[in-house]
Amino acid sequence: MKSDRTLKHGVLLVATFIALVPSIFMVVTSLKSDDDYTVNKVGLPLAVVFDHFENVLFQSPFFAWMGNSIVLAAGAVILSTVVSCLGAYAIARMEFKGRGLLFSVGTALMAVPPVVMIVPLFVLYSQLGLISTFRGAIVIYAGLITPFSVYLLTTFFRTLPRELFESARMDGAGDLRILWKIVLPLSLPALLTLVVVNALYVWNDLIIAIIFLQDDSKRTLMAGISIFQGRYDNQIPLTMAGMVIASAPMVMLYIAFQKYFIQGVTLTGMKG
């Protein structure tokens, strides 16, 4: 029994090591000097050096990139959540023609790869002058995350007890009031999960970002990284310092809200 437990810890420790080794390499390397890294690729730094962080922060627009990513994620998540809440409320709680069709087609869109949509949108956006605009990209991101939002919210709204709606209606509350005062407060955990999953998707996306936000001033963090790593190809400690800075926001959020991250991803399995 005891050796059994040792074996299990052994397996989990190996898995933990594999899961963490890139992060450890990233952090340790970012603290080495270039000379140190040339001769010492695996070990701890001879002397801890913070120069690379200074260089990254003062010579590359990491904060501007992060700011852009935040604007996009916030914009897309807000737009998609509002649209999906209204739609999901109607699908879950109202009778109308085409309800079933809207729900099944709307959620089936989850399985359509985003890359399929880019060609016509790119051509259209070029015509309309929407390339490299936040509003253009926000609409695309909001659209891409909406099928999942509708799926999750509709499923959740359906689980709320019917009496709740009936008694509110007796008191003379209208639909918007019921949605705002009763349904949404009760759906807070579902909404938080949704925000986490969707924000993560927009934050991590690369393909939409490099196609639709080509302007230097509009570049997202992920698009910025792909350029940054090419520019400093042979300065590995510097590159790693950039990666540490780039991953910091999500890692901190994960540590603070890991319950919602794990829940959210369990629910989707699709995004991340």
Binding site: K8, T16, A19, P113, F261
Partner: protein, 293 residues
């Protein structure tokens, strides 16, 4: 529903319908149209099936398809590894919750970030090869990134590393919802760990495993752009060794400005995703019935 409010539901779903029509409906109609046209700039003449003939006779297209199919080899590895880890976690030995948090970290790190880190680790003169030399297994110290016969394997390794974290979390969630009396009964009857796992636990996880397999297949065929774009330096390199369908569409649209060609490939990818929607929804429904998906 009161008669006077018949319009209300439509007002509620209107923004939703407009958004979905714009981001999905409009492009899905136009890729079909574009794929039969020779587009220069924003429009062009109809040319029948010429775009399709062109891509179907082009080696690079088939090579891209083949690479996506090759990545499917990662799926069984991911399933086995995730199963093993989740079942060991399920035994809830001391610290299992901490292990769970840590084992999910690969999924939290953005793909472009982790691809950059791996690319540096697997450089020919990088730390991975240094460790391999040190261990005395020099024959394993390959040119992971720079050799066109190895690069796609390295991409696959990275995909397995990251996507397994999803498998572990999904499988563990299912395990934690299992009725434990069966497992306890098996324990009482003296079934070994392997017997309990193989005959009692795994059969009850059938649906969630199927779900994970379908989701992973969709990933391999249509969502590996971020991995490949960084690892292959934006060109699917070295040579064309990490070219995949998404990157083919991207290059046709952005680098060679051939929206017609890009659309024809998009149509084909869309048709493949339609085929995958059926199994996806079948397993999702069953997973929901078991309160997982």
């Amino acid at each position: 529903m009161r008669h006077s409010f018949k319009l209300t539901p439509y007002l509620y779903v209107l923004p939703l319908v407009v958004l979905l029509l714009f981001v999905f409906g409009y492009p899905l109609v136009r890729i079909f149209e574009f794929s039969f046209k020779l587009i220069r700039g924003i429009d062009g003449p109809w040319i029948g099936f010429r775009n399709y003939e062109l891509i179907l006779s082009q080696d690079l297209f088939w090579e891209s398809v083949l690479h996506n199919l090759f990545l499917l080899l990662a799926v069984p590895v991911m399933v086995v590894w995730s199963l093993l880890i989740s079942i060991v976690l399920y035994d809830r030995i001391t610290g299992w919750k901490l292990y769970r948090i840590v084992l999910f970290v690969p999924y939290i790190l953005a793909i472009p970030i982790i691809a950059v880190v791996m690319k540096k680790m697997f450089q020919f003169s990088g730390p991975v090869n240094e460790v391999l030399h040190w261990l005395g297994v020099d024959f394993l110290a390959l040119d992971w990134i720079g050799s066109s016969s190895v690069a796609l394997w390295t991409v696959m390794l990275l995909i397995i590393w990251r996507e397994s974290a999803l498998g572990i979390i999904l499988f563990l969630a299912r395990l934690l919802s299992l009725d434990e009396s069966l497992i306890e009964a098996a324990k009482l009857e003296g079934a070994s760990w392997w017997q309990r796992t193989w005959y009692v636990i795994v059969p009850q996880m059938k649906v969630v495993i199927e779900f994970y397999v379908v989701v992973s297949v969709i990933t391999m065929l249509s969502s590996v752009f971020s991995y490949v774009y960084i690892m292959g330096s934006g060109r699917g390199g070295p040579g064309t060794s990490t070219m995949v369908v998404e990157l083919y569409i991207f290059s046709a649209l952005i680098k060679t400005s051939l929206p017609g060609i890009a659309s024809a490939v998009s149509v084909l990818l869309f048709l493949v995703s339609l085929l995958l929607i059926v199994p996806l929804f079948a397993v999702r429904r069953r997973a929901n019935e078991e309160e997982v998906g």
